[in-house]
Symmetry: C2
Subunit: 149 residues, 2 copies
């Protein structure tokens, strides 16, 4: 396989930074409007992960999201104080805790996902349908190597 040219690299870096900024700004604006909750990307990822997997252990979640265990512990406390997640001891390991969404947290996580879908839909609608599947399959091929969400 030929090596990508510098031009291709720069162009992709440029559009991806734009994409990141667009999505981050959209997320920042969207979330507080509905629930007055000051969200950040970490909370966002945590809630999304719990929505997909129902429960998670703090250490595993920290490693998965690339933050320190203490950081995830703090974030977990913050989300608990907002009533969005709760924790329960793991019956199989007395040291471990299991994080799960509360009923309210599930609602919020789903609302965020809806907003997320809306943003993504606005993006996708700008794409030619034929190119859409190629785009998605290509990115999946590149990014989803293992256990990413």
């Amino acid at each position: 396989m030929t090596s990508p040219s510098d031009d291709e690299i720069d162009r992709l870096a440029r559009v991806i930074r734009s994409l990141i900024r667009e999505l981050l700004i959209a997320g920042r604006v969207g979330a507080p409007a509905e629930g007055k909750i000051p969200f950040n990307p970490l909370y966002f990822h945590m809630l999304g992960h719990l929505l997909n997997h129902r429960r998670a252990r703090p250490s595993e979640l920290a490693a998965f999201l690339g933050v320190a265990r203490t950081t995830l512990s703090t974030a977990s406390k913050a989300l608990q104080s907002r009533g969005l997640i709760k924790q329960a001891p793991d019956p199989e390991d007395g040291r471990a805790q299991m994080l799960v969404l509360t009923t309210e947290g599930r609602k919020v996580a789903q609302a965020i996902r809806r907003q997320d879908r809306k943003n993504m839909k606005l993006l996708l609608e700008r794409i030619d349908p034929a190119a859409r599947s190629i785009l998605i399959e290509t990115i999946e091929q590149v990014v989803l190597t293992e256990d990413n969400d």
Copy 2:
């Protein structure tokens, strides 16, 4: 043009979040290693913008990056204290300041861009060359509507 399906939306949202996480972690790991500078995405964007445009006015940069003027002011001070950027009064407007890279700042910004290219290259090399151009053109079509970097 047909509307994108929920499945397409979810799949793209998923891969984009993965992409963001991968790039953010790469950026976080890469930058301090070379210069012991605790970088964050805002600094990253500021330096990249100044590398492309040579100079910028704080207010415009803040609006462009989607942060408060005070936030950009603080970030500007931080980058100045690290010797990466400097400011000079605008001769055409006594209120305004112009931000520019220092010689050192230019080196750092270019080093970051090199690292950025390296990361992007690793991603792109995983893609079939034929799909590469389709991918890039499609994302450009979607994202680069106006004045993004």
